[in-house]
Amino acid sequence: MADTSGATVTTSPSARAAGERTAYLDVRDLKVHFPTDDGLVKAVDGLNFTVERGKTIGIVGESGSGKSVTSQGILGLHRRTRARASGQIWLDGEDLMTVTDERLRELRGNKMAMIFQDPLSALHPYYTIGSQIVEAIRVHHSDTSKSAAKAKAVDLLGLVGIPNPARRVDQYPHEFSGGMRQRAMIAMALANDPSLLIADEPTTALDVTVQAQILDLMRKLQAEFGSAIIMITHDLGVVAEMADDILVMYGGKAVEHGPVNDVFYEPEHPYTWGLLTSMPRLDRARLSRLNPVPGNPPSLINVPSGCAFHPRCAFTGQVPADACRAAVPDLTAAGPGHLTRCHLEPATRAELFASEIKPRL
């Protein structure tokens, strides 16, 4: 990812030279491709988004839509020999695609941090929770003494709501329950007060009651530290609660991108329609039957031609000249700050939404 060779990196210094004001995190045309024996896997194929401090963007998608590859790409976690990455990732005025590995290591865990999905495999079973947090602190602040770092670790565990942190700090991951491990992961991610926090399915493995506690905690911490958060999840309920903006991904591309209220109340893309109408909802009258999206998520080796969603889309017949199969639709504006990638004419789309989708939302 941190490819400094220049071969696959397309930087445009002129874009920055003008001194234009950019968002805190500004991802431009991010592509992450993996060459494999079976062909080129375009896991992320031209993604653009921005996040300001104190704001949250929710990235929603199914397995294989490229949402986790995106987050790993931002942290520069892809092995350069395996992945071909291009585009620009501006973090606070620095393009992470062009900085040195050393600089990236300085930023990682310090200015930007990640909360992983599975705390049991992300925490090392052989070291105590405390020593893992202490390591995260001392890697970036070598002048901090071990005892000071440990005191900070205890504070952090207390901050994330772990009871009796002074005793817990010396315990091993297996002595923690699932919810507490996730809290410990959050404590570790917060160790150096990162201003960008990437949470990859942070609550998927947790029960709803614990999930509510963790989401609450993340909101509080964001209010306190003003972090920018990227929240990756497949749970639309979680993004509705947490996000200011939503990016819906399908087959490695953004298919819809906009403010949370627009995406939930005026969704534009048939895939978003499908997601919102297919799930049973506690806040609506019970349906006698669910309306699933037909078919399966696409394989990234054999992404369908044209619009990747066309084999599962019910509205391809409304588009003339078989365009859905033939051409990849562009991401076009459907409203202020609201983008969608669909061949349907805006008028047709509005009509379909009003007649078929809105009554079911």
């Binding site: 199914e62 397995s63 009871p163 329950s177 699932g178 919810g179 507490m180 029960d207 709803v208 009651t209 614990v210 999930q211 509510a212 506690q213 989401l215 609450d216 497949h234 749970d235 639309l236 309920g237 979680v238 993004v239 509705a240 609660e241 949370v260 209220n261 939930f264 109340y265 499908g274 997601l275 919102l276 297919s278 799930m279 049973p280 909802r281 506690l282 806040d283 019970r286 349906l287 039957r289 669910l290 309306n291 699933p292 999206v293 037909p294 399966n296 998520p297 599962r312």
Partner: protein
């Protein structure tokens, strides 16, 4: 108001006629040992601690609760995949609590299971054909029209291409694998299927496909489901009755609409209020009951009411007195000293 004790009381509110399955005071404890110099017995893990409920023919009973509440153990014990510690299991009026050998094997034709993990529950070295035909082989049954035709019929029924008979599990996606699990479970035309989190490993857009499939098959074959899940929205969609478990015990049991519209137990209130709702505007005026702390260890459950350590309403009485399930309205039983009807949703 009738007060029922948890031992030996026949659960009410089943439709007229004999229940398909009746659990009475079913208990499953896992013995634990402390290894010091010599091995000494320790407190057992009380995974399932005296639960009683009925399943009527053709009915879906949803079993919900947090991980560690004993819902999966309950499912496995009622299928006799685990040996119950105490209590009785009656299937069609027969006591099957200690059935073994040939009797148990015959029983397995009537009761099947669909597992959570579509990756772990299919043998990667067997073809789909032989996985789905395994029930026939084990029961030494030759289905009408031959084994291959029967399997291909099943594959077609669950929405798989019958030509894929000779393929291996890795060639299928998660949703398709779960369909294979469904085909295997319905091969012997059972009367009861225990579905243990059958859709939670699937993508959102695929979940609805599998839920619809399960409903269609139920309608065709009139079978009953015990549907174990932590996703309260899916459970509301598919269940006729819902049972809420906590730390091995039943907290509340009611018909689906009653449970979701007028839940009585503080734990049910907390569970329902914690579900994130995909409606950004509702969130601001939504009341959320946050539970403190974690699930206590089932090896050392709290005295009195097991939920009291996290309950916002807990009082002195909850520490000393175990709340017995009380039927507050027909078919709505709750085990709480201070039940209160509340609209949470």
């Amino acid at each position: 108001m009738t007060i029922q004790t948890s031992t030996g009381a026949a659960p009410s509110a089943t439709p007229a006629g004999r229940p398909l399955l009746r659990l009475t005071n079913l208990t499953k404890h896992f013995p634990q040992f402390r290894q010091t110099l010599i091995k000494r017995p320790d407190n057992p893990v009380r995974a399932v601690d005296g639960i009683s409920f009925d399943v009527a023919p053709g009915q879906t009973v949803g079993l919900v609760g947090e991980s560690g509440c004993g819902k999966s153990t309950a499912g496995r014990t009622l299928l006799r995949l685990l040996e119950p510690t105490a209590g009785t299991i009656e299937f069609e009026g027969r006591d099957i609590t200690h059935a073994k050998g040939a009797e148990l094997r015959t029983l397995r034709r009537e009761m099947q299971m669909i597992f959570q993990d579509p990756y772990g529950s299919l043998n990667p070295r067997q073809t789909i054909g032989s996985i789905i035909a395994a029930p026939y082989d084990i029961q030494k049954i030759t289905p009408e029209g031959g084994r291959r035709a029967a399997v291909q019929g099943l594959m077609e029924r669950v929405g798989l291409n019958p030509e894929h008979y000779n393929r291996y599990p890795h060639e299928f996606s998660g949703g398709q694998r779960q369909r294979i699990g469904v085909a295997r479970a319905i091969a012997l035309k059972p009367k009861l299927i225990v579905c243990d989190e059958p859709v939670s490993a699937l993508d959102v857009s695929i979940q609805a496909q599998v839920v619809n499939l399960l409903e269609d098959i139920q309608e065709e074959q009139g079978l009953a489901y015990v549907f174990i899940a932590h996703d309260l929205s899916v459970v509301r969609h598919i269940s006729d009755r819902v049972i809420v478990m906590y730390l091995g015990k039943i907290m509340e049991e009611a018909d689906r609409d009653e449970l979701y519209e007028a839940p009585l137990h503080p734990y049910t209130h907390a569970l329902l209020s914690a579900v994130p709702v995909p409606d950004p505007k509702r969130i601001e005026h939504k009341e959320r009951i946050l539970l403190k702390g974690d699930l206590p260890s089932p090896q050392n459950p709290p005295s009195g009411c097991v939920f009291r350590t996290r309950c916002p309403k807990a009082q002195e009485r909850c520490t000393v007195e175990v709340p017995l399930p009380v039927e507050l309205s027909p078919g709505h039983r709750v085990a709480c000293h201070f039940p209160e009807a509340r609209t949470v949703l």
